[in-house]
Symmetry: C2
DNA sequence: TGCGCTATGTTGACACTGTACACATTGCCG
DNA sequence: CGGCAATGTGTACAGTGTCAACATAGCGCA
């Protein structure tokens, strides 16, 4: 008996995908630490070392799961598809609040995809841009196209914006803002985003 | 032979302090993950379970070390003691850049003291305020005392400010800004802080 | 059609971790 | 001076990631 109830023994079919799926479940609560390699293997009905046929090590599996989550964030941020009449400023607001909203809604996944050091690539390559980053860039471009942001101040404007929402999300999740009521949190988030935008356009 | 070269056998003298010291060394590179309970015990020349006489578990030891680091940050931020003629705005700038500077200078300690979820207390109690937080609050108070910030906007202004520098530090350490030259990093940090302040005063 | 190679699993082991339990030693206090 | 509480030790257990050697299955080629 190779293992427990496996429909087709020995060969799994698509183990790689199954492991990522298990990883998504395991990290949903518990974040990156919630994913134990052996645990994922168990859940899929496979021996621990089988994982190594598809991922170099636990970290590689973690990264693969993180990538999925990043895609999911971008999808979630586009749910609030802006009506065409929306100002670029409001669009940027929506991106920022979407980022924070995801963090609050899915703390585990957020930790995995953005909180863990090394979750995001070292340098962002033009070809494989993380999905949420692309949304931010587009919003900033719209801001200058609309004339609200001086083109000279456009370059690298991503970092201060991202810093604000990223920091807020982490303070709200694991920092001193943890345990604050959802209502207060929404207000603080809103203010943080507004301040970042105001400062950028100042 | 109870253990290796111990000057006084069995009773250590001040094991608690010694463990915190070892914790400081171990977390300096490697952050929170760099501190293994058994490793700290080994370094001090004591059996692993002896640690439990002074700390409830590994997490308690970690928290004790984190508290030390937080104190150290505040000290480091006061090194740049501002001349009395400094404007409140510049004081706030210095606090923010001090925070980021510490993160870049001591990534491991920063991860331990601020990066790890739960490193900071849940709700900040008025009696035991984390040292860096107090510096931020004071700078904001000075801003309103000087008339630069409307008193109505003072409450809870800590969060947007902290968010910006906290987020920047983490993006610089483990995120897409990792590997960027120190010069570029300083500039981006400076801009991030300025934007936060501009937005706050807008 | 059948053979063999390679991709994909399994088993067993190792070093390591945090932690619980029972026991040993010590210094202080009555 | 005796005993007690504080403090440290030893042993053990469950769990982890990872490596090396072995087993199986399916695909391409004779």
């Amino acid at each position: 008996m190779p293992h427990a109830d496996s429909p087709r023994s020995y060969h799994h079919g698509d183990l790689r995908e199954a492991l990522i799926g298990a990883g998504l479940e395991l990290t949903r609560d518990g974040g990156a630490d919630g994913l134990a390699l052996r645990d994922a293997a168990r859940r899929v009905g496979v021996s621990p070392t089988a994982v190594y046929r598809h991922f170099a090590d636990r970290d590689a599996l973690l990264s693969a799961v993180a990538e999925r989550v990043q895609q999911r964030v971008a999808d979630g941020m586009q749910v609030a598809e802006p009506p065409p009449s929306t100002s670029a400023r409001d669009r940027l607001r929506a991106v920022g609040l979407g980022y924070i909203g995801f963090a609050l809604r899915e703390p585990g996944w957020f930790d995995l995809a953005f909180g863990r050091p090394g979750a995001l690539q070292e340098r962002i390559e033009p070809d494989r841009v993380p999905a949420p980053f692309a949304a931010l860039s587009a919003a900033l471009d719209a801001l200058v196209a609309e004339g609200a942001l001086d083109a000279a101040r456009r370059p690298d404007a991503e970092w201060p914006c991202w810093s604000a929402v990223h920091g807020f999300a982490l303070l709200a999740l694991g920092g001193p803002l943890r345990g604050v009521s959802a209502e207060e949190l929404r207000e603080a988030a809103s203010r943080t985003v507004d301040i970042a935008i105001d400062g950028l356009l100042a």
